[in-house]
Structure formats: C-alpha cells, structure tokens
Subunit: 350 residues, 4 copies
C-alpha cells in the first residue's frame, strides 16, 4: 500500500508486473548482493588476496545470513546506501577471526551495480519470451484476418485501403527489431562492476584485472574490461530499449484505440473495460494503458539520462536518481507486454 | 517490497516519506472515495434527486463497508479504474431496495478526482509546516553563523567575499516565496469534481450546479464552477509548485555539497554518511539526495505535463499517467523537506 | 537557415511566430541590455554613485552605439556571456574620461536577466490579446453551432450525447483560466534583476536597495525585493503557464483531429492541408501541430526545471540551459495560438 | 537572428555548430529531397514504372531547379509539410509532358525521411573524427600529466589518491565506447524510406521491394527491408547515442569544473572566460557548457521519445515533433565536442 502504483491495492493489478517487480525487491537485491560478496571472497581467496579460511567462513556465514532489516533501513538512511550497514552485519556474522576480510577492496557501488546486473540479466529471457508472445499473437491475428481490407489513416484522415496484414506488420516489425537487439542489450548490461572505492582497484593487491575477470566468470556476467562506476551509458542503453519497446507498444495501443472507436469500428474489442455510469461502454482499457506506459517511459528516459552527468569518481546524486527511475521503466515495459497480449486477445478486425 | 523505492526495505528510509505516502495508500483513497459517495447521496437526497431513505441506507452501508479487495483489484485490471467494481460492491452492501441510488448521475472520474482533491488538501498544512521548519532551521543557522565571511562562488570559481547570512538568505527566500504561494495552490487543487459521465451533469436532474456547490461545501472543498475532467492545469499547477520546491531544496543541497567539499570546507557536516570502504569519509548524503530529488521532480513535471493533452471528454491514457507520476512528486518533495532539515542540522559554517 | 525550425526556409512558416521571435533576437536583446545600462547610469548618478557627467556621457554614447557584432560573438564564445565584451565596447564608446563608470557595480546576470524581464513583459499583452482572440473564435463557433447534438467520447468510445456548446466550453474554460492568471504571471516575471557580481549589491556603495527600486521604476518593472540570480522559480512559473497554454491548445487540437476523422465527421475542416500523393485528403494540419506543440512544451518544461538547481551565487551551466529552452517555449506557445485561430476558422460542426 | 540560440548574433558562437547546422539548413534539405526525386525517377524508369523520357526530363529539370521559396513556405504552412508544394513546382519545371511522373507512387514522408537519412549519414564521419580528436586530446593530457597524483572524489568528498591517468581514463573510455558504436548507429539511421502514401508501396506497380533496394543502392543508403514511416525507433537510437555522447562530455565538463575550483585547483585552466565585474575570474566556460548541453540533450531525448507513439500509418503530430527536436540534439552534441576540445586545450593538471 503505497504512493507507488506498483504496490497499490488495485492499481498494481492494472499497472504492475510481478515478474518485473520481483527483480527489484529488497529480498532479491539482498540475495544478489550476497552473491557478490560470496564470489568476491571465493575469488580473492583463489588469488591469495584473502586467506582461504576467511573465504570459507564468509561463504558459510552468507549461507545462513539473516539480515537485521531495521538496521539496514537505518544504514541506508544514514549512509545513502545500504552496503556499509550490510557489510557490518556480515562481518559480525562471519565472526571476529575473519570478518575483516569481507568486502575486501570493494566499494558499495561494486556490490550494488553488480547486483543490478545480475538482476537485469534475469529479465532478458522474460523480455524475449514475452515480446515473442506478442509477436505470436500478431501472427495469429494476421492468420485470422490479414486479408481483410481496411482504411489506412494518415494524419488522422482516411487515406487509401490497405490490408489488415499491412497494419499488423506495422505493429510487428518494430517488436521483431527490438527482439533482435535484445542479446546485445543483455551483453551490454550483464557485466560485473568492480573498481574499489575510487575505481582503480587499488585494494585488490595488484590483481584487479584478474579478479574482475574471474568474478565475472563466477557470477555468469561479462567483464566490461574497466570499472564503469561513472560511465552510466549502459544503463541508458538498456533504458532506451525499454522506452522503444514501450513506444512500439504504445503506437499499437494508440492505433487499436483509434480503430476501435465507435465510429471507426475497424476493430471490435471483446471484453474491454466497463464504466461506472454507462453500461453500454466497452472501453479499450489495455490499449489506452499502452499509450500511458509509452508516455511514462519516454519521460523517464529523459530523467534517467540526467544521471549521465555522474560527477567525479562516484556520485551519490546521480546514482540515486537511477534507483528511482530504472526499476519503474522495467516494470512499465513488462506491464505493457501484458496489456499488449490482452488487447490483442480482445481484438477482432470486423 | 517493491520496484518502487517507496516500499523498498531500506530505500524507503532514504527516499520515502510516511506522511506523503499516507495520502496515496489504497486505504486512504478508498476512504475518501466513500466520503464522496456519502456526500453525493446526502446531497442528492436534499435536492430530491434520490429518496431520503436511499441516502440513509447508503450512509449506513458506507459506515460499515468492508471492501472485497481482490474484486477491486480485478475490477481495476478489467475496467482501468476501480470505481465500477467499488460501486457494484457498495450497491450490494446497500441492498436491493436502494442500491441503485448509489453513485447516481456520477462517473468514475468524479469519485477519483474528488478523492484526490480531498487527499491533496490534507497535505497543504504539512507542506506549510515543514517548509516553515526548514526556514526556521535556516534562521537558526543565520543566528549562529550569519556573520562569518565566506567566499561567494560564481561559475564554479571564487568570486568575492560575502557573509554566511547572504548565502543563507539565498536559500531561504525561494522557500519563503513558495510558502507564500501555498494557500493559492491549496485553493487551486482542493476543489470538487462533479460532471457525470460526459461532464455536463445531465444525470443530476437539472441540479448539477447546486449539487456541485453543495457537495463542495459538504466536503470542505472549493467549487471550481465547472467540470474539470479534461482540464488538468490545476494538477500541473500543483506539480509545478512541488517541482519548484524540490528545485529550491536541490539548489541548497548542491550548494552545501559544494561548500562541504574537503578542499572548500566552508561548511562542516557533523554526522554525514559513512562509506563501506573509507572510514574517514563523511558524505553529504542528504545534500546529494536533495539534488537527486530536484532532478527527479523536474523530469516528472515534464512527464506529467504530457497529460495535459487529455483527449475528448475523458481520457484513460492521459489520466492514468497522472496516477503514475503525481504521488511520486508529492513524496519526493516531502522527502526533500526531511533531508533539508537533516542536512541543516548537520551543517556548521567553519 | 538553420537547424532550428524557427529560421528554416519553410518550417518557420509552420512552427515559427514572428512576434514571439522578435522578443528574442539579438537586436532586441542588445537594445534592452542598453536600456539597462542607461537606466543604471542615470539612477547611479541620481544616487551619487557615479558622477552626473559620467551618466550623461554614457546615455549619450548609448544613443549612438553601434556594436561590433563580431567582437560580441567572440566575447560570448570566450566568456560564456556577451556582457564583458559589450561593456568593453560601451566603455570605449563612452571614452576614457567616463568609460569606467559604465556598468558600475553590476554583473552580467543583472543585465541579461533584466533584459529578459523587459522582453517578456512586452509579450504579456500579445498573449492576452491572442488568447482572447481564440476565446472569441470559440464564442463565434458556439453561436453558430452550439446547439448541435454531438457524441461525447470518453476513453476513446462514444459515451452519451452532449451539445457542441458543451464541447466548446471544455476548450474555452482552460483558456479563460489562463488568461485570468496572466496578470499575476506578468508581475512575477517583469521584475528587475540587480545584485552585482555576488548578489549582495556590494558595489553600489550602500545604495543597493534604493538603486534596485529606482531602477525598477525607471524601467517599468517590478522590484522583487531581493536579488534572484540563483532563484529561478519565476522563470519556471512563466514556463509552466506557457506549458499549460500549449496543453490546453493541444487538448483542443487533439479533440478536433479526432472529431474531424473521416469516420467521425462531427467537425468538417474547410481548407486543411493537402497531400503530395492523395488529392482527396484534407488534413487537420493545425490541429496536429497543436498536439506537437503541447508535447514539445511539456518536454521543455521538464528540461527547463532542471535549471532550478542553480549552484552557488551564479551558475553558468544552469543559466545557459534557460537560454536554450525558454525562448522556444514562448514561440511554441504563440505559434499554437496562431494555429488555434486557424483551425477554429476552418472548423464547422456538421 | 532568432529565438533559437543557433542563429543568435552572439549565442550561436557559444552554442552553435556550423557543421551540424549545415546538415539541417533548408538548402541542404532541399538538395537531398531533390536527390531523392532524381533517384526515384531514374530507378522507376529502370523498372519501367515511368517512361525513360520522363526520367530524363525530371533529372534535367532537377539540375537547374530553382525553387520559389515563398511558395514553399506557404505550402509548408498550409499542408504541414513542404513536399506537396515542392512537387508542384518540380512538376511545373519538368513541364506538362512528363511532370505527372515526378514523385510517382511516393509520399511526403518518403522524401523527407530519406533526405534526413542522407543528411545524418554525412554526420557520421564528422562525429567519428571529432570524438577521435577529443580522445587524442585526452591521450595528450595523459602523456603530459598522467603520472601526477590527485585526489579521487566520491560523493563530493575526498576519497583516496589516484593518478591523473586514472581520471583521464574515466573520461576517455565512454568516448571510445561511443566511437565504437558509431558504425552501427550509422547503419541504423542511413536507410532509405520508401512506402508510398500508406506504406505498402501500392503505387509502385508491383515493384516496391526492388525499387526500395535499388533506390537505397543508388543513394548510398541501406535498405531497411520495410517501410518505417511509423516505426521511429531508429530515430531514438540515434538520439540516444547523441544523448550518451553529450552525457559523457557533460560528465567530463562537470569534473573539470569541480577540479578547477579555486579551492581544489587540481586543474588550472588557461584562458577561461572573463567576467564583466571581476577581472580576476577565469571561468570554466566550456566545462559549464558541457554540463548545459548534457542536460539539454537528456531532456530532448525524453521529448523525442514521445514521438514513438506515431499513430496509424503516418502521424503529423508525432513526426513534426521530431523536426523540432532532433536537429537541436545533433548540434548540441557537436557543439559539445567543440567545447570538449577547447576545455582540454585549456586544462593543465597542477
């Protein structure tokens, strides 16, 4: 229950997406941060940066680690980032003998950016599958009705006749292009972050490059070849893809809402939304929501791109802006794919 | 636990605001929607639009109404708005004899916009109080240190000497201006919405104007004199105020972060944020967050203003965009006031 | 001929506005900057800050001043602001005896912000007149066709019947509200800027307050009571008004484009745009442009609001952002008023 | 002389870029539109869609074509797009015998989008060269001063020591990445547009696919394999690259402005900007402008992405929004590269 539509009692059903939100819960974030700390300890032990015994103790402590959530909240409030509080708790869990080897040479941003990369990576497949489903729904619609003749509309006026298949192809091609670009997006974003407090890996005792490469391998991520603390372009590359996806769906939604207008009636919607006052209404709710989500993500991309001005070695101001915006863009894009599926299921060319 | 920082286990401590979020929970929204339906029934009975017995039954049912939350969620998903499902539940609760008199002549947007107005109205006082507190904190800082001589900085270079009081006045004046404008903002936004399904009040049996005025009176709101379903300027008037507030605080935060730089050291922060890797750090966390929130609200204002293109009598696409953005702007502005208080408490001119 | 549509050989006819652009030409800016310098000299002489003879020489030099444009360009490129080069030229024109009294105690931002205020002030009347004309066109349309019955559309579906007058009222009321707010906007923006290099007027020999008040009087501007170098809220107050205006017009444009769709045909456009390929087309060009301009100004408001984070006493980065955005918003708003007039002239309810 | 900084007497020296603006002048646009019409005629003749004689006449007429600029302006104002007026003039120039074969089967958007592709293509090389020059300047700076020890700054506080080379690498890597991505951007954007009035090439007498492929070849563009009238993702792919470039430069500018602060003095600027009031000032003008341009392009990307909701077969509203925004983004990105070169020339690590 929240000011965010994503947790609202009823709006979450309209505007949320469980799979997308799942990637950004505190539980998931905590788990992937612990994955980072474990991989760091194991790899640092391999490279002799910390003792093997310390790594064993750290891995063991992580396995049974139960955070003090209240202290994490207080830590985030105080430090602007949860990691100092988390590391303190982890060190205590590991015990006095080895605790100081936890998080050796790393910095908060290494943990959180890598956690983000791990979480975004898990979304590539769902995006692929769900874009694929929308394409299939379009194929099905084409098979059913592609041969029908409809009016093309240009500049909001009837232009010439086209086939429904032409219209459907115009919705499908951008989605196919975006699906085609997804592997590259996945590679761009699913990379380890490891630079230490000032980005040059100086706390890794001369092993910064190997450590980064080995960490990447262990975590199933790519090695970007450098520390990207202050280079946020991969974040906006992903966000631009999300925005283009929402835009492609929003264009389709706008078209369907226009084609389903009472006076146009090229498309009939079966089972649209009802009205509190007009029982005869059959509102193109999902089509409208697609437009909403496209406009939302366009505006968010503009906001997120402000975070490219990431001053100095690490910026609290710019980084925090990403936390506020990126998860919402992911969820909006995924919610759009759900609505696209719904509205295509409801749509009949008549 | 959510993709929204407002419900996140630890980020909510940094970026949330309980008072602001309280105005947007589903519980609060439901309660104020019921306030609308009760006032509507009572006033319609006074005007003879519905029987007095029906109004009595409706008021009585609302007093003990317990919603079926799952059905509200399903209704919102289906209809794009919760009101049809809510009205259905309410009618059932009122019973067969009078149920059909619930929501007589009104439309979903009447309920939700009026609910929003009621909720935003409750925030005017907290905004006033909390801006006032920041001004007091600035007064205190001025009393302590206003006479100190510091360097003015223009275009990121030392310019000439000024007093700390000059600097503080530069932070205070915009806040004083915004506080001065708050009553007018409150009047603009705290108005009833009542137009019926197509805005002309045709379902109110010739009493649309009186009904609107009496409803406003009963609910403690203003009467805007017309139905504003499709005129969303008052929403962006309020949002622009929020953005200017976040901007004024962001400017102060940016200044403090600059003055607290190690090399500048005009301001010393007591109890800033810690680092996971560098124990000597004393990070200007709240100052940075003020910059974040200013950039966030600036971007959101741009997004919200897209909803001014509210097509036809009522637009699902544009309206839903407001739901996604406005609550976040309110919370960001209030969170900023909290951070402003914190950072001023921590700041000492040295 | 330019990357800007405002100077483009043909796009300027579609998207420009001569009156709006006239307020932002270099000629107009130069003239109002000279107005500032003259008023400064005269007032400083009255207050004894500079000798009366110097003021006389300055006023006289300004009367015949011809700038070296190339040097102004080079100066802007070098200094980020034209004023140092301009003052240098002016001092030379005044001559050695009195030249050093030019610009006494002032700073670049005093000149340029005051120049902006003078220029924006001249636009208040045209905005008022032109909004009034659109309202009159709506009144005329109502007189002609207000009694016709048309379909209201909600959520992109036929809802219930309303009168054309209802529709027209929905377009007019937001414009009437905006016109009503214009005097307050004018007062907010038409104020003198005078603070000197670091805002505290330290170079005005103890007369900063009187000087500011007298300058305001002399220039026909208001006295804001403080130096607003770093408080840019009045800029976004004005921009928000522009955005709301563009939004109100964009809403009307979107409605007209929808009502003029071939299948809907509630409105017939006489003399819309032609197509290069389809002679039968009668495109709702002005209606579409109104939507374009609304979306443009919404995005620009988001960008301009980033400039509220105006660090320290004066920020080159934030200030320059205003220069890039605000003039375009003014022109877009005025171009919208022109298109609104055109499309209403073309519109017939049928 | 204009409301646009790009044509302003002095601001153009600060914020314009001749090479970038050159790609968007009406002259350049006209020439590339004529290139399209010539290639269309030639290719249609090859495919037997129009007579060879007609093609010869068209090519000949284009060679000596002098437009009636006033009529083009009036046409754009009336039709929302210049092409109908241009085609009319061209047909007249070709003469009665063959005039009707001009523009055969094509539509306005084919002409203008292809013209845009031709013009953007010419910018890929300059972008590559100019990003390369900034990288070289960084290499030079590294060679001079890379070994110096400086303070890393995180969250606006001194963190640990790093080398100047570390800092420089943080500026260079994002630029190198962007340069590496430029060929793919070029391929994405430099594609022919050819769909005819409703996108399905129905006016090309069964030769739509061959015609598109041959046109692409003839014009030195790629064949996208479909008509992208309503799929604007390639526009935002390019714009996102521009925004990332401006962001990378803005980050560098922000860093330099911070490092050049009087109190920090890690970098000394030689020949920064002067002040009208403080002769001792040495302002980091180009560094500040880089921040301005980054924030400008971030906001513009948000605005441009709204145009992804391109309704139906062709949208006047969405398309026109691109015309207003994209050229400015290109120029801002190029102006940034110029300022980056300047500020690096001025910068010395001390």
């Amino acid at each position: 229950m929240s000011a965010s539509v994503l947790e609202h009692g009823w709006l979450s059903h309209l505007l949320g997406d469980q799979e997308g939100q799942g990637a950004f819960t505190d539980e998931t974030e905590l788990r992937t941060m612990l994955d980072f700390e474990r991989a760091l300890a194991e790899t640092e032990a391999e490279l002799g940066i910390i003792p093997q015994k310390a790594a064993t103790a750290i891995v063991s402590a992580i396995e049974t680690f139960e955070p003090d959530w209240a202290a994490l909240g207080e830590g985030a409030r105080q430090d602007g980032v949860v990691v100092p509080a988390l590391v303190k708790q982890l060190r205590k869990a590991v015990g006095e003998a080895h605790g100081r080897h936890v998080h050796k040479g790393a910095t908060s941003q290494d943990v959180i950016d890598t956690s983000l990369a791990l979480r975004l990576k898990t979304l590539i497949k769902p995006f692929d599958v769900r874009v694929g489903r929308v394409i299939e729904a379009l194929n099905k619609l084409e098979a059913e009705a592609g041969g029908k003749t409809i009016w093309a509309q240009t500049r909001m006026q009837r232009a010439l006749e086209i086939s429904a298949a032409d219209k459907i192809a115009g919705w499908r091609q951008p989605l196919a292009n975006l699906a085609g670009g997804l592997p590259a997006i996945g590679e761009a974003i699913a990379v380890v972050q490891l630079g230490g407090p000032v980005g040059n890996g100086s706390g890794f005792e001369g092993h910064a490059r190997e450590l980064r490469a080995m960490m990447a391998e262990r975590l199933g991520l790519g090695d970007p070849g450098y520390c990207w603390h202050a280079d946020r372009a991969r974040i906006t590359t992903f966000a631009n893809w999300l925005c283009q996806l929402s835009g492609a769906l929003g264009k389709m939604g706008q078209d369907i809402a226009l084609l389903a207008q009472t006076e146009n009636a090229t498309i009939k919607l079966e089972g649209g939304g009802g009205s509190s006052a007009m029982p005869h209404k059959n509102n193109p709710v999902s089509a409208e929501i697609l437009v909403t989500l496209a406009r939302f993500n366009a505006a968010q991309l503009g906001g997120l791109s402000q975070a490219l001005v990431h001053e100095n070695e690490r910026s609290g101001a710019a980084w925090t802006l990403e936390w506020m915006i990126l998860p919402q863009m992911v969820v909006a894009a995924l919610a759009g794919l759900r609505h696209a599926g719904q509205v295509l299921d409801q749509s009949r060319f008549v």
